[in-house]
């Protein structure tokens, strides 16, 4: 646990040691603003809620989260520090968890910095702040799932661009799994349970269900399972690389 915390602190500081952290936060806030106010018709809707704001999160995350995840392992490989890191007396689970939690915490910081949107709706009307909180938590969980996928991809390459592109493609597929286009591919030949499973696995379907009410425990479990599964794969891939 102590090691997880030590690694977490180093990784989080690493984000802020380069312009990446600031560029990420600024772009995240600006994009969120543009999508919410111009594309999402925030004002024209005449409703005091953050629905237009949260609707665009999955799409923002597809582009931005891979940028946070890509450096986690690829950077260590490129600079050779992975040899130093993995010969320290730490467990693989501690290494994987420390890195992931730092990235997830950073995503949380970026989310918290969107509080002016929340202030705006509260200034303009009387939104249901319970729904807003639930949506924030759901958004953060989804960011975590995206990050876990990205960490896993980053573990197998030293090229950050490749890590970015592959992660973006993977999380895109996860996101749109429930859309008519993807389901159309399965329709007709796939058994009903598979069709249902694919639709249920869609981040978009899960995520868009949340802002309407409270968080469904099953959705939380689903996102957490995705995180655990990809982090386990991350650890296994790093271990396999050792044996080569």
């Amino acid at each position: 646990m102590r090691n997880v915390l030590t690694i977490f602190r180093r990784e989080l500081a690493a984000y802020f040691a380069t312009p990446l952290a600031y560029v990420f936060i600024v772009i995240f806030l600006v994009m969120a603003g543009i999508l919410t106010f111009f594309v999402g018709n925030f004002f024209e809707r005449g409703q005091a809620d953050l629905q237009p704001f949260f609707t665009f999160h999955p799409w923002l995350y597809i582009v931005l989260i891979p940028a946070l995840a890509m450096r986690l392992w690829a950077e260590e490989r490129r600079s050779g520090t992975i040899e130093l890191f993995l010969t320290l007396p730490i467990r693989m689970t501690e290494a994987v968890a420390g890195k992931f939690l730092a990235a997830w915490c950073f995503a949380g910081i970026a989310l918290i910095l969107t509080f002016p949107f929340w202030l705006t709706v509260n200034f303009l009307g009387h939104p249901d702040n319970g729904v807003i909180l639930a949506s924030y938590i759901a958004s953060w969980l989804m960011a975590g799932a995206f990050l876990a996928v990205g960490a896993c991809v980053s573990a197998v390459t030293k090229n950050q661009v490749i890590a970015f592109v592959v992660t973006a493609a993977l999380v895109f597929v996860f996101t749109v799994a429930g859309s008519p286009i993807v389901l159309g591919v399965f329709q007709g030949w796939a058994p009903e349970w598979l069709l249902h499973g694919v639709a249920q696995a869609s981040f978009l379907v899960l995520f868009s269900a949340i802002p309407r009410g409270v968080i469904d425990l099953r959705d939380v479990v689903y996102f957490l399972s995705i995180i655990v599964a990809f982090l386990a794969a991350n650890a296994i891939l790093i271990d396999l690389e050792k044996a080569e």
């Binding site: 102590r2 090691n3 030590t6 690694i7 180093r10 500081a13 690493a14 040691a17 380069t18 600079s79 050779g80 520090t81 040899e83 130093l84 993995l86 010969t87 320290l88 007396p89 730490i90 467990r91 050792k242 044996a243 080569e244």
Partner: protein, 312 residues
Amino acid sequence: MLEIRHLVKSFGPLIAVDDVSFTVPQGEVLGFLGPNGAGKSTTMKMITGFLAPTAGTAIICGYDIATQPIPAKRHIGYLPEGAPAYPDMTPDNFLGFIAHIRGFSGEEARRRISRVVEMIRIAEVMHQPIETLSKGYKRRVGVAQALLHDPDVLILDEPTDGLDPNQKYEMRSVIAAMRPNKAIIISTHLLEEVEAVCSRAIIIAHGRILADGTPAELAQRSRHHNAVRLAIVGGADANVRAELAALPGVAGVDTAGNGLIVFSRGGDPVVGAIADLARERGWTVSGLQVERGRLDDVFREITTPHPIAAAA
């Protein structure tokens, strides 16, 4: 303290390390010598647990790196090849991170950091990002990191690479000072380094151990061992050379500088016979010197596919 048992590593068809075994007791500085691509770094990566061996294992202070990696790693200080360190961090932050991972905090961490900082002389760069440091300082930060927990086993992959002659001298002094209570392996391709700090040398090429002994023992295998440098006033004509070459025990005669070098056959002393001959013939000898042997000779002979013939 360190026991290497039949280590093998293959990368696809390439066998990078081929059945390497040796032990390093406390108090020994083992020089790991070999041309580029010999398998030195790969062996060190397996000892430190970064690479899993294809076969064999390493035992560090009683802990098997394969089955008890955490306690084994606690006893190792490791400088990987190229001294990698997080480029955005300052040495101060970097050593702080290593100290925490090594289980030290607060006052204890600070005390240990200042000890290595003083020992390795990096105080003046402590607050500068590592990516802006010179190659020499970067290497020293890597060594400082390896020494922080005062490990029993120290594994340094090319610790003096990129250092200037003064820094090399300092680094060797640091290694020599730590020798009594540690088992140390350093890899190098500098033979003078082996003679300066190592109590034992292993020569490796194509993944195999080709020679193992003290630097003096290895030097004895050199054709220069017990060779005699001879300078005669007025120069040496063909006649002199022929007479020297005809002496029993002489393998050959060669020009060296403005004198001659007389090689011994099988490394047996020939200086007595040469001195007698010179007296007999009335040559005025202005210089006579017996050579101990040269490590670079041995190294070349052992590691090149076509050994240089013993006779000149």
